[in-house]
């Protein structure tokens, strides 16, 4: 058995070909919202500890970064946003992509604007204000939400899958 054959065999045994096999995109109607809720929950759990190494922080960390990973998976398995060599995006998919990203861009811009307004309260001592690590986690949070929102909006823009016996 040649080296390429051995490598092929290795991939088949471990079922790694699942990663590159062509998959039908799925519409996630509510899952992205659940993941956003998990991101918020994890972030709040981490932020309320003030950086102290306590169980709440680790639970929050796990929930937050678990949701971050879930966001990447939902993006990969949800409506198609990225063309491949064998499957370019057609006009309908490009339209869905454009509308989903445009809408989520507006929502994110509004959320960031509200955050900026909130930052003007930094002189108010009784309110929560992010520390260095809170900003770090917030960056990942915004990144995750910016992948989840288009997935969620595109899922609702996609009609019910058309299936019949011939295809």
């Amino acid at each position: 058995m040649t080296l390429p054959e051995k490598m092929d065999r290795f991939v088949q045994v471990l079922h790694l070909d699942w990663i590159v096999r062509e998959k039908q995109p799925r519409a996630f109607r509510w899952a992205p919202l659940l993941v956003i809720a998990a991101l918020v929950t994890g972030y709040v759990l981490m932020a309320r500890t003030g950086g102290a190494v306590v169980p709440d922080f680790f639970i929050g960390w796990l929930v937050f970064y678990g949701a971050f990973l879930a966001a990447a998976f939902l993006r990969a398995l949800g409506p198609r946003f990225t063309a491949t060599v064998h499957r370019p995006l057609d006009e309908r998919e490009l339209m869905v992509k454009a509308r989903a990203h445009a809408t989520s861009g507006v929502v994110l811009a509004m959320a960031v604007s509200l955050g900026c307004f909130y930052m003007t309260t930094s002189a108010v001592p009784s309110l929560w204000h992010p520390q260095v690590m809170d900003w770090f986690h917030l960056g990942f949070g915004v990144q995750a939400v910016s992948t989840l929102l288009p997935t969620w909006i595109a899922s609702w823009l996609e009609p019910r899958p058309a299936r019949d016996l011939e295809d």
Binding site: D90, E91, R92, E93, P159, A162, R163, D167
Partner: protein, 86 residues
Amino acid sequence: MDNLYNRIAVFRAERGVSRRELADAVGVNNQTIGYLERGDYKPSLELAMKIAAYFGVPIELLFSFRPFESVADTLRRAHAAGEGPQ
């Protein structure tokens, strides 16, 4: 916005063409052909013309803002006029 009706499924069935074959011929995903047939998606002029060209018919035979007459009604009318198969 007006509904856009089409007879893609009828033409496809008549020619024995699968969704995938039609999709490959006009350069779209086969799911898009399914959405078109169900009326869930309105095609661009370019796509509509490609589909009409694929079947070799004028675009107005495939797409209309008014519902198409059913095949049964068309045959019945043709038969009554003495045009259809005996």
